[in-house]
Symmetry: D3
């Protein structure tokens, strides 16, 4: 059994703001991340999958994984404003936690299209928002 | 003579768009960076200064430099949208080149307040927009 | 369930020396790390906690974690000599393993002051002594 | 219980090619990695071991681990062509997955010579082929 | 005046060997880098250009630079054996110094095709063979 | 003409304190770096030399440079307390600026023993005290 991880990068902007809460409460909860016009990051996303080695000595077909991540993550999120451009964040605050959940959910939902066999399985998604903040969710924790 | 460099980081968002040009021309010039709702980066800024060693074995007072960079750069730009929040980019496209010029100009204008003596002098400002793109301007090139 | 990791840095010095052992034995055990006047490192500390997402889309309140780590780790250890300045290492050799145990113990003991609810829980502490040496302990392994 | 990780680096070349398959199939499977004269990488290898702290406050004797990794990995693989110079890859395609298996197998087979006691145990081997591709195998998964 | 740097990566293999010299002399000169079947690296190439800012706030058109570097460097060198696959190294030892010269020469020769105006100019090429070895040549030093 | 840079690392401790000054003045000048028992760093040292390519396609003999840096820098400074163990800092405060001067002076004084010909010449010494602080001196500035 093998774990393979690939790293991807995209740049996006976001604002942490919850429409149901007052401006004061939002400011208190999210601080500078609540500034009205938003800010942004170079997100680094690690996608890990695991499985046995196949006959050609590989555990994960990197080309298929790249194609899946490009279509589901890098194209819809890259160079975008997460609040304004991504429908999933219309009613969900785009914290890095929610972003990791959303990325993991998209990969999980479309996994069998890219990897039709029993293996590899999606293991986890990890996002570094900055070099100091890392957010990680296991695929089996996501419904 | 010594060159001392300190690295700072801030997260901000921007949109590359020139109001005087048509939408098509903007799209052609700036590509994905012209997306209407903007995107963002973790900017890494290197500020270099140079001078002789003083009696305490230092070339640059790091505390003063930090105070200057905080006041002129990190506070006004950090967790902000450069187009909407920073007056200097009202009529100037916030490319990383223009951002470097603006940072360098601010430090140069306020340098003598922080460092009243002949030394150290501001040498250059260098911005890494992502790990792959680096922009660098010499202080003496800025008027 | 989410795992959130934050990275912190501090510079400190130490000497690996065990008072109960002979000088020869100390030299044999710790080599250059036993040099009488000590040496130092830029320690990088990763603190990981885990828990469910709350209503504001966060798993760990970063401000509270920073405040806890500042008070318990960065202030008492940063710019210090671990052997001479930190009481915990009066009779304990400040290897990076023992340093990780001590940091983990301090965070665990003071965790409920910072995070009074059921979640998040402290998961693990990881120390990079240099870019080549990493030491990791799980909070539940520490009494 | 402690986990200690040490990072090692070596430069080697390889070609992904399976003698039992046709040239077309090899090209399809391995793409540019099948180019006839091979290519190379700066491999970064992380070896993790775990165990309790001994009386001198250490979990793993770094000198012994270095000696083992030097003899079993860095000397036979460093500055070598994996296909032509390493007998283990005579009939096994040197993908990074197979390379990780081979490194893990060598360390496991020779572990008790270097660490004769019950502890530490080899935990896992992790290889970064490039900054974007990471391959990881647990020692207990290897026979 | 601005300096813009972009970073590129490619993996290749090489052998340091000079056909005019004896095997003993080659071994003495190049050590492990002379091993008969070669070895490889993940080369990191920095290309720096400089020039004034144009009306759209840019000093270098990144798309054109990428296209030039892809065509002249990444495609012919990436996933290749420099000795066997690149004609320029038929009679020239592919040390990283010579590799930097060759890359710089190719960019310089084809520069005016990509950048027909007076600006930007190619400034320098810098290659990191490993994280510890950096080789740098100025464009004006190359004929 | 070529510039070649090699990176070295060593861990050491130091205290910033000037015996001629009062304790208050020392505290004011050096802040936490004046703490009585010292602290430490993982210093990263870059040594750059330049020269023409020789017949074997190299600008600097890496083995000789390593031997010189080992003997003059890594052995006397590594795992040492700079104030107590290095005679050069008996009356000189071991700021990173003075450390860079001292390293550059040692390399310059012993350069012709390692490199007896006209080339390569020592260009500069650069020290990263932490990832955020870089100190750089040109060899020709040192007497």
């Amino acid at each position: 059994m093998f774990r393979v991880t690939r790293r991807y990068r995209f740049a996006a902007s976001h604002r942490l703001h919850c429409a149901q809460l007052s401006d004061e409460r939002n400011q208190q909860l999210y601080g500078k991340c609540n500034n009205p016009y938003g800010h942004g990051h170079n997100y680094e996303v690690e996608v890990s999958a695991w499985g046995p080695l196949n006959a050609s000595g590989r555990a994960v077909d990197a080309e298929r994984l790249d194609e899946l991540v490009n279509r589901q993550v890098l194209e819809p999120f890259g160079h975008r404003n997460l609040n304004a451009d991504v429908k999933s964040f219309e009613h969900v605050v785009p914290t890095s936690e929610n972003l990791a959940v959303e990325i993991c959910r998209r990969l999980k939902e479309n996994w069998s299209g890219a990897f039709p066999g029993e293996w590899p399985k999606l293991d986890r998604v990890r996002i570094a928002e900055t070099a100091r903040n890392i957010f990680e969710v296991k695929a089996h924790e996501i419904e």
